[in-house]
């Protein structure tokens, strides 16, 4: 009787799976690394820590600052230099610490250039002047906080009689909520491009593809096995990342899980198509690596995985939205954080699938088995 174990599709899938899990790097980069990144970035951006700002003071005459520092600041050492530290408590926005370092103009500019200081305070005939790069948002923040503090030195009040800060405690508004769907989408892209493209090119260069097609092996079975194992691994990797994000940060999926799975599958189809297209011809791993990076890097930077792509110029937003990773990331975020469902994912899923199938077919037409 014919055993299922002798079936070539089963053997191709099984051996592909064995090869994947026997590669320790795959387990590290595919499973552990995304978890470590999410934990690192999650803590970095969600912990309420004390904001510290360095201010260089370049005075020719006594100013208001000197009087205030003598009352509110205490002597300290910053970067090995004597300084005066002024701590301001704020229960809502977090505490702020200003470190004032007295210096001459030249040294103050050097500190600014090195990023050691955020802002320079100087005076002309006793009048205060703030010197900073107006395009630097951090410097702007320091200026606003410091000028407000000097106006009201007894404490920065976040709330006034007319307006009040109400911190948002809604699900899905933290940075980690933004980050995790992006990391899942990025992990999916990265793992498919390296897992499929690189594997095909490497086997072609080792002449293993040639050896395999010199048998009655069905070529489609080879590709199906490769894709199936990769999609399975992606699913496991995404589950592990989600599990840790849930355990540590309490991440939740607010939308439709069925829709999420469909979108996940569409993303796999899109990037599998791209992977086959990239790897259809070359037998040089160096060329393949270049292609993979050329596809992956722009999307990693532009598609809003780590930070919103709305920071890019307005004219580029349409182009960025047309990238497969952007469509996937936006789709994931709408389900994770906005309670999105079938309606939200129908269009991106269809576009991703059609795009993937088109790339796959073009790749297959040009595919060089040896």
């Amino acid at each position: 009787m014919k055993s299922f174990k002798n079936n070539q599709l089963f053997q191709l899938t099984f051996t592909q799976f064995l090869e994947t899990i026997r590669e320790p790097e795959v387990l590290f980069w595919g499973m552990l690394f995304p978890v470590l990144i999410s934990i690192g970035l999650g803590f970095a951006f969600t912990q309420q820590s004390e904001a510290k700002f360095q201010v260089m003071v370049v005075e020719q005459n006594q100013t208001k600052i000197d009087t205030l520092l003598s009352v509110y600041a205490h002597p300290s050492r910053i970067q090995g230099k004597p300084a005066e530290t002024w701590k301001v408590k704020d229960e809502i926005l977090g505490n702020t610490e200003f470190n004032f370092i007295r210096s001459d103009w030249r040294s103050a500019i050097v500190s600014l250039k090195r990023g050691e200081a955020d802002l320079i305070v100087g005076d002309t005939l006793g009048r205060l002047y703030y010197h900073f790069d107006p395009h630097n948002s951090q410097a702007q923040l320091v200026y606003m906080k410091l000028s407000a503090l000097l106006q009201s030195p007894s404490g920065v009040t976040s709330n006034t009689d007319e307006a009040e800060i109400k911190p948002l405690t809604l699900k899905g508004v933290r940075y980690i909520d933004f980050l995790i769907p992006g990391l899942i989408a990025f992990g999916l892209m990265s793992s498919i491009l390296w897992g499929i493209s690189y594997t095909i090119i490497e086997r072609r260069s080792q002449k293993l593809l040639r050896r395999m097609v010199a048998t009655p092996m069905k070529k489609s079975n080879f590709l199906i096995a490769l894709m199936f194992v990769r999609i399975l691994m992606n699913f496991v990797e995404a589950l592990i990342l989600f599990f840790f994000a849930w355990l540590i940060f309490g991440i939740q999926i607010q939308g439709n899980i069925g829709a999420l799975l469909v979108l996940f599958l569409a993303g796999n189809i899109a990037f599998t198509g791209i992977a086959v297209l990239i790897s259809c011809h070359t037998s040089k791993t160096e060329v393949g690596t270049g292609w993979i990076n050329a596809v992956q890097m722009p999307m990693m930077i532009l598609s809003g995985v780590f930070f919103s792509y709305h920071n890019f110029p307005e004219w580029s937003i349409g182009i960025i939205r047309a990238l497969p990773l952007t469509a996937l990331t936006d789709g994931f975020r709408s389900i994770f954080n906005e309670g999105g469902g079938w309606i939200e994912i129908l269009f991106p899923s269809a576009v991703l699938s059609v795009f993937g199938v088109a790339c796959f077919l073009i790749g297959l037409r040009r595919f060089k088995w040896f």
């Binding site: 002798n6 053997q11 191709l12 064995l18 092996m217």
Partner: protein, 247 residues
């Protein structure tokens, strides 16, 4: 019925004419050596016979069938070992053989049989990445023998092996020859290999056959062995010529 029939086959790569009009015929059960220096066109010729390359012109028939029309059928009856194949290093010997056995719809038992035949029993659970050069060549031979091939192509199976490993491989092939069911086409640039294993020798140089026949018929008082014969025919030594880069 002829096992292999090659008629005036030519093949070029960019500006290199690798095969310049070769014709030959191989009978059932024959062990044939394609002998020639690196770059003589042996591998290109064998790859065309294996259906892995298409000739620019000429005709190749395997058991009176062509690769264009009968590829599926022909893949089932041939076995081959390429010049440099690296099997997946993260699979064991047995897993590799099981995988290739599945392409021929063969059961696990056959994988174990070829392991025994090629003397890899104590390496069957080793990852192929840990095998020595000789063991890798034996694995390549085991893969080639899985489907009881009627025609076996071995492309320089002992190149780079130490004398002991080479002898091991010859002994396996001699056993196969004694069984008489397989036709073997072997490319080599080792005289002793051709002399010891094959009854029909085809000497190839610069893409052409320069002499062929049984060894005893080819030697005379001027050529006491294949080495001398090759020098007399071409004016050069067999192992002196650099490889032509084929792309």
């Amino acid at each position: 019925m002829l096992q292999i029939e090659v008629k005036d086959v030519k093949k070029s790569f960019k500006d290199v004419q690798a095969v310049r009009g070769i014709s030959l015929a191989i009978e059932r059960g024959e062990f044939v050596a394609l002998l020639g220096p690196n770059g003589a066109g042996k591998t290109t010729l064998v790859e065309m016979m294996e259906g892995l390359r298409t000739p620019d012109s000429g005709e190749i028939r395997i058991q009176e069938k062509t690769w264009q029309k009968n590829e599926k059928e022909l893949r089932k009856i041939i076995g081959l070992s390429l010049q440099e194949t690296r099997f997946s290093e993260k699979l064991t010997v047995l897993e590799t053989l099981r995988l290739f056995a599945s392409f021929f719809d063969l059961a696990d038992d056959r994988a174990k049989e070829v392991i025994a035949l090629t003397g890899l029993e104590n390496k069957q659970k080793s990852l192929t990445g840990t095998l020595s050069g000789g063991q890798r060549q034996r694995l390549a031979l085991a893969v080639a023998l899985l489907n009881h091939p009627e025609i076996l192509f071995l492309d320089e199976p002992t190149t780079g092996l130490d004398p002991h490993s080479r002898l091991d491989l010859w002994n396996i092939l001699k056993k196969l020859k004694d069984e008489g069911r397989t036709t073997l086409i072997l490319t080599t640039h080792y005289m002793e290999e051709a002399e010891s294993l094959c009854d029909h020798i085809i000497i190839v140089d610069e893409g052409k056959i320069i002499q062929e026949g049984e060894l005893s018929d080819m030697l005379d008082e001027n050529s006491h062995n294949l080495d001398e014969l090759f020098i007399n025919l071409t004016g050069k030594k067999l192992n002196d010529i650099d490889e032509i880069v084929q792309k």
